[in-house]
């Protein structure tokens, strides 16, 4: 196990076109991370740099302070599970699970014990001796997961969207199993996904990426309460955060002919957006006037689409609470009303 330091890492597959923009990040030993971002944002690139399948075009990879940038995958002692199942067709399930251990020269008796243990965890003990080829995609992916988990001495276990091919009802089970494993063995785990629920339920810390850039590293709570970038705001949460273009007048944000009092006055005056989550907007007797344009009932709550001085926003309304049809007023929760300049959260609010 090790602390993994990506020191000024950047990667370009084609010279000049950075798939991963320069970043400096430390993955603490024993933490569970989720790497969250839309497809093509550089998540897999980052993962392959950690595991050594890819050599970064710039920067260094340090394991516990030791430079391993040039070391290949085998010498980094990393386990990785890929998006699509990889199965050795010629082997049985047992041999598949034993393969990473056998290649490292572990004693057969120890291998057997470890394989049985992992098979037990993944509930595949009953099919250990069947051939791996004829199985369904989910079953194969569980074996791939097993090969990732079978080694006990790894520096980190990396998961590259491992549950893509798994049935939804199994996804929950496997994810909670991975969490249990993390609690039990406290391996450093990095879990790549584009699904926010997966990320928020799995990880201690979530790393949000977009367009080759790490936008925020934080606990699920941080990401919800204080998104560091507008992208994080609307990528996380359902529906995402509302952003309204505002003019600034001292410590007041001006929206058309209305204004909202802010806790602080930001330094920069132009390109400012006001961000607030739909959870923190509330219909009230006074505040900012708006028109309700539509109402969606999701059972547990309703989502009202409103127009505030020509700009649209969403409001979450708890069930049972009336939605005014005329002269609607919105109150903004001052603690959760954030300001963004050029996409980034105002420095004083961070």
């Amino acid at each position: 196990m090790a602390e993994i330091h990506l020191k000024d890492i950047a990667h370009a597959y084609v010279p000049g076109e950075y798939a991963l923009k320069s970043m400096d990040h430390i993955w603490q030993d024993g933490s569970a991370y989720a790497l969250l971002g839309p497809s093509g944002c550089g998540k897999t690139t980052l993962l392959n740099i950690i595991s050594g399948l890819l050599k970064p075009s710039e920067g260094q990879v340090l394991f516990d302070g030791k430079d391993v940038t040039g070391a290949d995958t085998a010498h980094r002692n990393i386990a990785q599970v890929f998006q699509f199942p990889v199965i050795y067709d010629t082997m049985t399930v047992r041999e598949n699970l034993a393969f990473p251990l056998k290649n490292r020269g572990m004693a057969p008796a120890d291998i057997n014990g470890r394989v049985e243990e992992v098979a037990g965890l993944l509930e595949i003990s009953d099919r250990l001796d069947s051939r791996a080829t004829g199985l369904t995609a989910d079953a194969k992916q569980i074996i791939s997961l097993g090969r990732g988990l079978v080694r006990t001495d790894v520096n980190a276990i990396l998961f590259d969207e491992p549950l893509t091919v798994i049935d939804p009802h199994l996804k929950w089970q496997i994810r909670s199993k991975l969490k249990d494993l993390h609690r039990q063995f406290s391996h450093t785990m990095v879990y790549v996904t584009h699904d926010q629920t997966e990320a928020l339920t799995f990880a201690d810390k979530v790393v949000v990426m977009n367009a080759g850039e790490v936008l925020q590293v934080g606990t699920p709570e941080d990401l919800f309460e204080r998104p560091a970038h507008t992208f994080v705001g609307y990528f996380i949460g359902s529906p995402g955060m509302n952003f309204l273009d505002v003019e600034l007048d001292g410590s007041r944000a001006v929206l058309g002919d209305q204004s909202i009092d802010l806790k602080q006055a930001p330094a920069k005056k132009s390109g400012v957006q006001l961000g607030i989550r739909p959870e923190f907007l509330d219909f009230a007797d006074q505040g900012i006037s708006c028109q309700v344009t539509s109402l969606e009932d999701l059972g547990r709550h309703r989502i009202a689409s409103v127009s505030i001085s020509g700009q649209s926003a969403k409001v979450i309304v708890p069930s049972g609470k009336p939605v005014p049809s005329e002269n609607a007023m919105l109150s903004f929760d001052p603690d959760h009303t954030l300001l963004y300049t050029d996409g980034y959260l105002e420095e004083s609010l961070r």
């Binding site: 995958t73 085998a74 890929f82 998006q83 067709d89 393969f99 990473p100 290649n103 080829t133």
Partner: protein, 290 residues
């Protein structure tokens, strides 16, 4: 529900039926026709039943040719399949070199059989051929027109030169269909090069290798043109393979009856061997899936 009976659809099958009849059934039946009759010329034929088949199946001459044929196919398969796999593994995976290699590999396949024969006939000649003359100058006792071993080596090297490319191209296609994730997973699992070959590359090439073995077996078992041009079946009968013997019998000696019986037996042998091979391979495939 009442089923409508309508036989008119048979007319739609007629074109295919005619095509197959003219391209396969009628020529084949002519051969069957000859194989059960004898003729003394004048287009007069006599029924002889299975006499020709009995003669052909008991003929030492044909047994020898059959033995030589099996040995030839066995040797070229034993060389071309491993060599083809090895070259395919060594071929570049990306960049401009891929096209260069593919074109180079495809070249021998584009050369007509008798041209290949002629090239090697001249290339290996002791008096004027580059290869033959060089070998003679080096003191190697090599003369394919007189020495059986030399003749065999020449014919085999020629076939390997001509046809290994086919195996290479098929294997290369099989290899390029392996997703990167397999190689990455193997790296993560710490697999050796041999383990990658044994557990990833070879299993993924299995299907194309089946096709390669079948094609090379059928082709080599029916080889005619190249050895005919190079050695003419000699020295003696040393490189007289089944086709060469068949042509000698049918056209050289004009023994139409035995030649026809021989053709049918020949055809059935190729069919049988291919069928057995294919069945065994697909059966082991089905076992993999269960």
């Amino acid at each position: 529900m009442q089923r409508t009976k309508n036989q008119k659809a048979w007319f739609l099958v007629l074109p295919v039926f005619l095509l197959v009849a003219f391209s396969a059934i009628i020529p084949l039946m002519t051969v069957v026709n000859y194989s059960v009759q004898d003729s003394f010329g004048n287009n007069e034929f006599f029924w002889v039943g299975s006499e020709w088949f009995v003669e052909v199946l008991n003929s030492d001459r044909l047994h020898d040719a059959f033995g030589r044929q099996l040995m030839f196919s066995g040797i070229i398969l034993a060389i071309e399949i491993p060599l083809g796999i090895w070259i395919a593994l060594k071929m570049p995976k990306k960049g401009w070199a891929v096209s260069v290699c593919l074109v180079l590999m495809a070249l021998p396949l584009l050369i007509p059989w008798n041209v290949v024969g002629t090239i090697w006939q001249i290339f290996a000649r002791e008096d004027i051929g580059l290869l033959g003359h060089t070998l003679a100058a080096l003191g190697v006792d090599y003369n394919y027109t007189q020495d059986t071993l030399s003749a065999w080596i020449t014919v085999i090297v020629m076939d390997v030169w001509h046809w290994t490319s086919l195996v290479v191209l098929l294997c290369y296609a099989g290899l390029s269909s392996i997703p990167d994730a397999y190689y990455q997973a193997a790296k993560i699992d710490g697999a050796s090069k041999w383990a990658v070959f044994r557990h990833i590359q070879l299993p993924k090439m299995k299907r194309v290798l089946t096709i390669a073995v079948l094609l090379r077996f059928m082709d080599s078992f029916m080889i005619y043109t190249e050895p005919f041009v190079v050695t003419g079946g000699g020295p003696g009968n040393a490189t007289t393979f089944l086709s060469i013997d068949l042509v000698k019998m049918a056209i050289g000696q004009f023994d139409v009856g035995p030649a026809a019986a021989f053709s049918i037996v020949y055809f059935l042998v190729v069919l049988l061997v291919s069928w057995v091979f294919y069945t065994v391979v697909t059966a082991s495939d089905a076992e993999d899936q269960s």
